[in-house]
């Protein structure tokens, strides 16, 4: 109990008496965390933007007018077992007709031609959404069977195929670049933290050797640095998230214009706050522990 109390006391004393060095260490940690969070934010925004684009792509199966409800049910039942499909919406014949009339309400020729037909010439439409753009090919293959040829008039996705592939390529590239950048940042962050802690310990190398010569055990010497690492991690993560929320306060109004689905980074951070702070706190803590442990090894050999 005495030892733990003394270790905490020494660590607080060291922090206060090496105020400049402690401030600089926390400052560097904050800069590193901000960089990571900027990258994280960009990654989230990219994913959000691509999913928004993906959501706007769908397949429309236009059925022939004579298609019966039974036929429709059968097709829907057949498609509903496919795991790639996330959503299916049926537009009935009447709804298609209403929509057509509404679109051409200013064109009297079109409407009178429709009147002359006496009956609804449109078949129902099935609108399908899939998880990923590349899944559209599977749906295409699934409905490309002879028994459905007689039912389906046309399919609207064929024209979008090229666009879908482009989006898929862009998304894949962005993901790869994001992964590469994240890995690069992780390495840079590790090196920055490692060197910051090493410099901090190097400046105290004589003190460490004196403590050793006076009879301090390794634990008694390492302890205060571990407590300091904990305080550094706590301070840097808290300040970083304070700064992030401040920045988001100004950024979110612009994002809400871009993302019509109501997505904001503040909401994202709020709903993932424990995960985000937890990961970053543990990472900084581990990095500082490992860095100080490695940096101190030489000094503790005295």
């Amino acid at each position: 109990m005495h030892s733990i109390y003394r270790i905490i006391k020494f660590s607080l004393q060291d922090l206060g008496r090496n105020f400049g060095l402690s401030t600089m260490t926390v400052f560097i940690l904050i800069l590193m965390l901000l960089s990571v969070n900027v990258l994280w934010g960009v990654d989230i925004l990219t994913k959000q933007a691509t999913s928004l684009v993906k959501e706007q792509i769908n397949i429309s199966l236009y059925f022939k007018a004579e298609t019966t409800d039974k036929n429709l049910e059968e097709v829907q039942k057949y498609l509903s077992v496919l795991p790639e499909i996330t959503e299916m919406n049926l537009v009935t014949r009447d709804q298609v007709l209403d929509s057509f009339k509404n679109r051409h309400k200013l064109s009297s020729e079109v409407l009178s031609a429709l009147e002359e037909l006496k009956e609804n010439p449109f078949g129902p439409t099935l609108i399908i959404k899939t998880r990923e753009p590349q899944d559209y090919k599977k749906i295409l293959q699934a409905v490309d069977v002879p028994e459905y040829d007689a039912l389906i008039e046309t399919k609207s996705f064929e024209g979008n195929e090229e666009g879908i592939e482009k989006i898929q390529n862009i998304t894949n590239r962005i993901e790869k670049i994001g992964f590469g950048l994240s890995a690069l940042f992780a390495i840079i962050s590790f090196l920055i933290i490692f060197n910051t802690i090493r410099v901090s310990i190097y400046t105290q190398r004589i003190e460490i050797s004196i403590k050793r010569l006076v009879g301090a055990s390794s634990w008694f010497i390492r302890g205060p640095y571990m407590v300091e690492a904990f305080i550094f991690a706590l301070l840097s993560v808290s300040i970083t998230f304070g700064l992030i929320y401040l920045a988001l306060h100004f950024l979110d109004p612009y994002l809400s214009i871009v993302f019509s689905n109501g997505f904001t980074l503040t909401n994202y951070y709020n709903s993932h706050i424990i995960l985000l702070t937890g990961i970053q706190f543990v990472s900084v803590l581990l990095l500082t522990f490992i860095s100080s442990g490695l940096a101190m090894r030489k000094q503790l050999k005295v």
């Binding site: 005495h2 030892s3 003394r6 004393q13 060291d14 008496r17 090496n18 004589i206 003190e207 004196i210 403590k211 050793r212 010569l213 006076v214 009879g215 301090a216 055990s217 390794s218 008694f220 005295v302």
Partner: protein
């Protein structure tokens, strides 16, 4: 108390610290180890506090076989020996009081005992009035007295002083030696490594002379001779 049997320390083929040292120091002795720079005095001190290990031979201090001591036990050995260095080795970010109390805190002494004993020891070395100053606010002599207080505070049976007056003027030198003599009068064994002729001649105690890493003389009431 301290026994060295055939102790040799070789750093490299052309750098030999000590050669075949055989030595026995009894409890309560005041022994001066003399010799010119580079004769092995500091090597001997380093071996005694397990800062280095001998290449050959055996070192025993009290019940400790220092040659075989596991690294985890070194702090416990050092808590039994008071060490005074030429460059004082004080913690610059700690006050005089904290520097002295640190030696007790690492040993797990109770806070009440520390609060009582540290001012007493600082009074003994004449620094009771300056206990809240930092080392840089003290003179060289005062800093060495802090180092003596620190080495003394846990009541060690042995104090090893490696050139304790090397950085001090003659007045401070006399004061430091007087303090060491007083400590010795209370029964503490003192091992003084020095190349200060006046001190050794004035002490008239046992003198061990080193040359080229070997003991060339060991006199019960010796003088400084090279």
């Amino acid at each position: 108390m301290i026994k060295l049997e055939g102790v040799t320390k070789i750093y490299s083929t052309d750098s030999i610290g000590l050669r075949n040292i055989n030595l026995h120091i009894k409890a309560g002795e005041f022994v001066s180890i003399v010799g010119q720079s580079g004769t092995g005095k500091t090597t001997l001190v380093r071996l005694l506090i397990a800062e280095e290990r001998p290449t050959k031979g055996k070192i025993v201090i009290g019940d400790w076989d220092v040659t075989e001591i596991p690294s985890g036990e070194i702090p416990y050995l050092r808590r039994q020996i008071g060490v005074i260095f030429q460059d004082f080795k004080l913690l610059p970010k700690k006050t005089v009081y904290e520097n002295v109390s640190f030696a007790l805190e690492v040993a797990g002494e109770k806070s009440e005992h520390i609060k009582k004993i540290v001012p007493q020891v600082l009074d003994v070395v004449g620094l009771g009035e300056k206990m809240w100053r930092y080392p840089k606010q003290l003179s060289g002599g005062e800093q060495q007295r802090v180092a003596i207080a620190r080495s003394l505070v846990h009541r060690p049976k042995i104090i090893i002083a490696d050139e304790p007056t090397g950085n001090l003027d003659s007045l401070n030198t006399v004061e430091i030696i007087e303090i060491l003599k007083k400590i010795n009068e209370f029964g503490t064994t003192i091992l003084l490594a020095t190349h200060n002729r006046e001190i050794v001649n004035e002490l008239r105690r046992r003198v061990i002379t080193l040359r080229g890493g070997e003991i060339v003389s060991d006199e019960e009431s010796g003088k400084y001779r090279l």
